[in-house]
């Protein structure tokens, strides 16, 4: 009798599992339209105009790379635009593998959180979706330019952002980091910006620099070079090259230092009711190129080069900070955040007037570049007759 009861119980369990859950969330992989990237524009009547780059799997052959198809949809909100596409192309858009979302300028100026909200609230899109701002007229026009090596624009863009660890001229900002910066204390958000440039064959899309936000509204753009400097302040540098110039009798000579490792510390100093910031940057690099043939044998000659490079770095950083302080007034460096973290009591007092304090904030920069070695050549190559 007992075993019969057990059998019945098992039968019940299996039946309930099968009937009550009934393949919830079941979807065949070939029925999905995998969205690789989204461009978000504003339509003429205040609606959202979404442009999707999806992988064309129907035309995929095993020996050819997957091409992309561009789809477009309009709606009052993000979700309604996604649903409106059903009446047109009948795809079931799938955002689980979306890596790129590009905001147009006017959307960013109006407030990026309006559209970022969906990306975080919905279950499908990932939190680490890379956000961009288009410097061009619209965001969707970027999709028109085919990348040179991969077929999918969004995949190429993701690869470019991954490669920034060797360049540091753009700072990848996943959606969650953007939201953290927007909602965080004493820090303003940045996003990488995209523009169209001429390339060897036709035009192509490039990561130009950085878009500066205050709250969630776009304030302006800074160039790629400035972004490199910004990466040092934000401690985002993992690699890249520093070009140092050195004056000599025969004119300006350039050397390239390849960064091995870099560490930045932002230290707020509070004295006499006044806040000032101290930035300490520690760079480990090695000499990778000596264009001018500068003589580097000997401790003192290298110290000279080191000092020269450090000074140039200090200047660049100070210039950028000044530019941002005066031009945008947005604390993208997170100086306020360092005060909030290190001296919360002071922050409580100064919080409300931080906007003004930031504009006149005194910043001292100490860069220390340690040149580990000189590559494979100890001395510059002698130029004979």
């Amino acid at each position: 009798m007992n075993s019969l009861k057990k059998l019945l119980t098992l039968l019940y369990v299996i039946l309930f599992i099968m009937l009550c859950t009934a393949c919830w969330d079941y979807r065949e992989v070939d029925r999905l339209t995998i969205v690789a990237g989204i461009a978000i524009d504003k339509a003429y009547d205040d609606d959202l105009l979404l442009t999707f780059e999806v992988a064309d799997l129907l035309g995929a052959k095993s020996d050819k790379p997957i091409k992309s198809v561009i789809m477009e949809s309009r709606g009052e909100t993000f979700m309604s635009a996604i649903r409106n596409i059903l009446s047109k192309d009948n795809p079931r858009l799938y955002f689980g593998h979306t890596t790129v979302a590009i905001l147009s300028r006017d959307i960013a100026e109006e407030g990026a959180m309006k559209v970022v909200d969906f990306l975080l609230r919905d279950g499908e899109p990932r939190l680490n979706i890379n956000l961009f701002v288009s410097e061009e007229e619209t965001a969707s026009e970027l999709f028109k330019y085919k990348p040179s090596l991969t077929e999918l624009f969004s995949v190429e863009l993701t690869n470019i952002m991954d490669e920034q660890k060797n360049l540091a001229k753009a700072i990848p900002v996943p959606a969650y980091k953007f939201v953290n910066a927007v909602s965080g204390e004493g820090i303003s958000a940045v996003l990488p910006s995209l523009c169209i440039v001429d390339n060897a064959e036709g035009k192509t899309v490039k990561v130009c620099g950085t878009a500066i936000f205050k709250e969630d509204r776009l304030q302006g753009f800074i160039s790629g070079e400035d972004t490199f400097t910004l990466s040092f302040i934000l401690d985002e540098v993992k690699g890249g090259v520093i070009v140092a110039k050195k004056d000599s009798e025969t004119g300006e000579k350039k050397v390239t230092l390849e960064i091995l490792d870099s560490k930045t510390e932002i230290k707020p100093v509070y004295s006499d009711n006044k806040i000032s910031i101290e930035i300490n940057i520690d760079v480990k690099a090695f000499l990778n190129e000596n264009m001018g043939g500068i003589e580097l044998k000997g401790e003192d000659r290298r110290a000279e080069l080191k000092k020269c490079a450090e000074e140039q770095m200090n200047v660049r950083i100070k210039e950028l900070i000044k530019k941002v302080q005066e031009g945008y007034g947005a604390d993208i460096f997170g100086f306020g955040n360092s005060v909030y973290k290190n001296m919360p009591k002071v922050w409580k007092e100064k919080k409300d007037e931080w906007g003004n304090i930031f504009r006149d904030l005194e910043v001292t920069v100490n860069t220390n570049i340690e040149i580990k070695h000189l590559g494979l050549l100890l001395e510059p190559i002698k130029i004979g007759d």
């Binding site: 070939d30 999905l32 799997l57 995929a60 095993s62 689980g96 593998h97």
Partner: protein
Amino acid sequence: MKTIKDMKNKRRLRNESINSKKALNKSLEDNVNLFMEFFKDDDTVSVRYFSNREQDMIKFCIIYIDGMVDPETVNRNILQPIIQRTFPKNFYGNMDVVLEQIVIANNAEKLCNVDELVVRILRGESVLLMDKSDEAIAICTKGWKSRSITEPENEKVQRGPKEGFVEPVLVNLSMIRRRLPTPNLKFKKLVIGVQSKTDVYVCYLDNIVNKQILDELLKRLKNISYDGILSTGTLGELIEDAPYSCFDTIGSTERPDTAAALMLTGRIIVLADGSPTALTLPFLFEEYFRSNEDYYINIYFSSISRIIRILSFIITVLAPGLYVAILTFHQEMVPTPLLYSLSAAREGIPFPTILETLGLLFVFEILREAGLRITLQMGQSISILGALVLGTAAVDARIVSAPVIIVVAISGLTGMMTLKIKGASIIIRLIMVLLAGFLGLYGMVFGIMAIVFHLCTLRSFGVPYLLTLTSLKPEMVLDTAIRAPIWFLEKRIRFIAGENRGHIGEKE
């Protein structure tokens, strides 16, 4: 339950009626007729009358079955001495004299019960009858052809002994005895099977074995009441702890060196006549992943082999399920480029993933089963057929997608690594695919939990099935997924071995 008991009682009664006691009398003719009554309609039974050339008034008769005896032995050791030699003076028709002074045989016995003698004849002995005597001599003249000793097909090794058990149980016992020449080695004989009367030998090392397990085994064996024990497999099923489980709780081996090694750990070996497979018990789950060769080769290599075997089992059981679950529920888990190619490969396939997978698994099992019992030449044609039909045609025709074939092939290939657990892995694999198809990874996790719970409840002769996997004692851990050097395995495993637990450093 009652009916089964009744049936057993009836059977016992019937058995007793057959075993009615019949005794021989003084007339040779009557005695022979008595035997011929038993062997009515059996034309292989030979009856030969003969007498001594000098004292021809005493007739002899020998009864045996053709093919079961060695004719040479019968001629030289029974017929020749009785016919040619001069009988001793004290003969006077005395059977004891025949037994002691005339018949030349290492194994002969005087009996007078006809039933007993009939059994002896059936087992290949010759029965010698004499006129005016109510006694008979059963002489061991067994001699039949059997397979020569070869390496077992299923347990091949690269290094190590290449002997395998054969059908005659005494040969098998001798192979074990040669490996363990100690008086502690015991072979306990039981005769099981109402019709087959199979000789079953329980082998163990008396000073190592766990007496409780031995008693339990003997109790179970004695309780068996069944027609024919033709293979130890039947025997195993009748004495298993968990016969309804898809996992075996009794191990098996065809190698005498494995059997000897297992006895040294305290395990018990059961051999039956006519079966080249020995049962080993208690059997632990982890033994599925062992090979005797592990102990004959380099420790690192054998450890790697074991880890690969365990991984293979996990892969063979889970791979199709994981594929179904990930492709139908958890597309987020797949790396983007892989998802693109998987999605592209499935484009235009008419069946849902789960049906595709189940269908292909089914076809794979058909191929395997078809190839198993087929001659070598035919097996090749099957593999070509399978490879062609499945590998290319089905994919080209867009009936199944290429990734499913890869997954099923991997599952099949890894299944070959652990052949002993094959039955269980087929069932578990199927359950996993079904769970994955209905519930995704969530279902699979519950399926795995259910299997682990089930494994935890299993016992093999009272020893927990997962004994060595739930302890941190060195003797338990060091010989599981890895095979530690022999000197680390100082002690035998508690529960399996009796009181005497030292492997090394023990002197007699």
